[in-house]
Amino acid sequence: MDTIQELALSLQQGEAKTVGELTRRAVSEGVDTKTILDRGLIAGMSVVGDKFKHHEIFLPDVLLAAKAMYSGMDVLKPLLLKEGIPTIGKVVIGTVQGDLHDIGKNLVGIMLKGAGFEVIDLGNDVSPERFVDAAQKEGAQIIGLSALLTTTMPVMRIVVDLARKRHIYGSTKIIIGGAALSAEYAHEIGAHAYCYDGVNAVDQVKRLLGMN
């Protein structure tokens, strides 16, 4: 097994320290940065996402794998910047105003980062203005809205309307997710996609950006 395979495997097992060490080792062995990212970190997270989707592993395992991924990313980030390797896309995410539930939103962030996207996480209780401001400032292609509570779901429509008013609707696509949501609801409020979980969010974002 080469360093990259070992790296992908220890990421799956959530071994943050080992992933950091193996990433550094791969760099020192002269493996190019993009390969370490794609075949090490992203490949590892893809297996994690797949197992999670099939309920073979659960949230704690995903969170541990994410921590491991971050410790590898910390090593790679300065190199990616220096070599001018772009991320495959920029996504602004957050839980809508009035809602403090962030597990689903965090999972979406983990899966998107794990797939190679740059994720700007605005946190919980995010106002419509903050979503749209951040998307404009960062030039994000996607805004991801999360809401667990049925009482906070209506805020999503306000974000969509504000994106229209600021003329970013369309060039920036809006995806939504949350326990009580549906594709019908996304359609009704004018969101571009409904994502039923974090893994699906990656598929939807790639579809909207014409990547698959």
Partner: protein, 296 residues
Amino acid sequence: MTPFRERLRAPVPIVGDGALGTMLQQRGLKPGECPEKLNLDRLDVVEEVARLYVEAGAEIVETNTFGGTPLKLAQYGLEARTQEINARAVAAVRKAAGEKAYISGSCGPCGRMLEPYGDTPAEVVFEAFCTQIQALAAEGVDLLCIETMTDLSEASLAIQAAKSVAPTLPICATMTFDPTSRGFFTIMGVSVPQAVEGLSKAGADVVGSNCGNGIEAMVRIAEEFMKHARLPLIIQSNAGIPKLVGETATYPEDPEFMAQKSRILADHGVKIIGGCCGTTPAHIAAVRKMVDALPK
């Protein structure tokens, strides 16, 4: 009143109460507001909901303290008022229930994830539950309900906290499961047999499930609990998965439907039958009627 442990041994099921959060929302609790803050500002509303459940025939009424750990209250900057928030909630239920219902101190998740997958050390979570439960016990709850748990470690810490600060209080402990292609699991990956083993080992007196995906899934969860648990069971289902009609959420399962399915729970020997999100005093009244009509 018959001491709660004695009532647990009687053959007739005990009727629990229904939802609190959704009832408070109908009475003006806004999205994103701290439900427990009403214990400080609008105790009349909290008391009103408790009274409605007592009138509907609930024998157990829960306190408005689901998010009453200092860790959870800190999300609203209210951690310094933990004592007061919990104490006033107990007083409100007592005023509504008198000697007609047992007061159950509600303890929900602390809102933080434990190390190593999260950032919060076990001691911090344990301390938070100790603080809340001490306040509930001092004000005289009859039992505790540690509920909507998805992480077995957190549930066990809460039970251990109860054992350490209020060793004589009976403890109901419930977790929330979702159906998957591989059976029922909590989002943290706890199966029903694991929940039974862990909650029992930690020292719960009654184990079971609350919230979830509606009464039909809950009957299947209860059947799985039956296979593994030796302790009495508690089941408090929500009224189905909410659907948005216009901009308001409605729960699809009506009182008659829930009562009819709850009959299966009673036949299985489930000891405490109540409701969770979306259930109302009408749901509890229907369950009461069903229980009263059970063959003696």
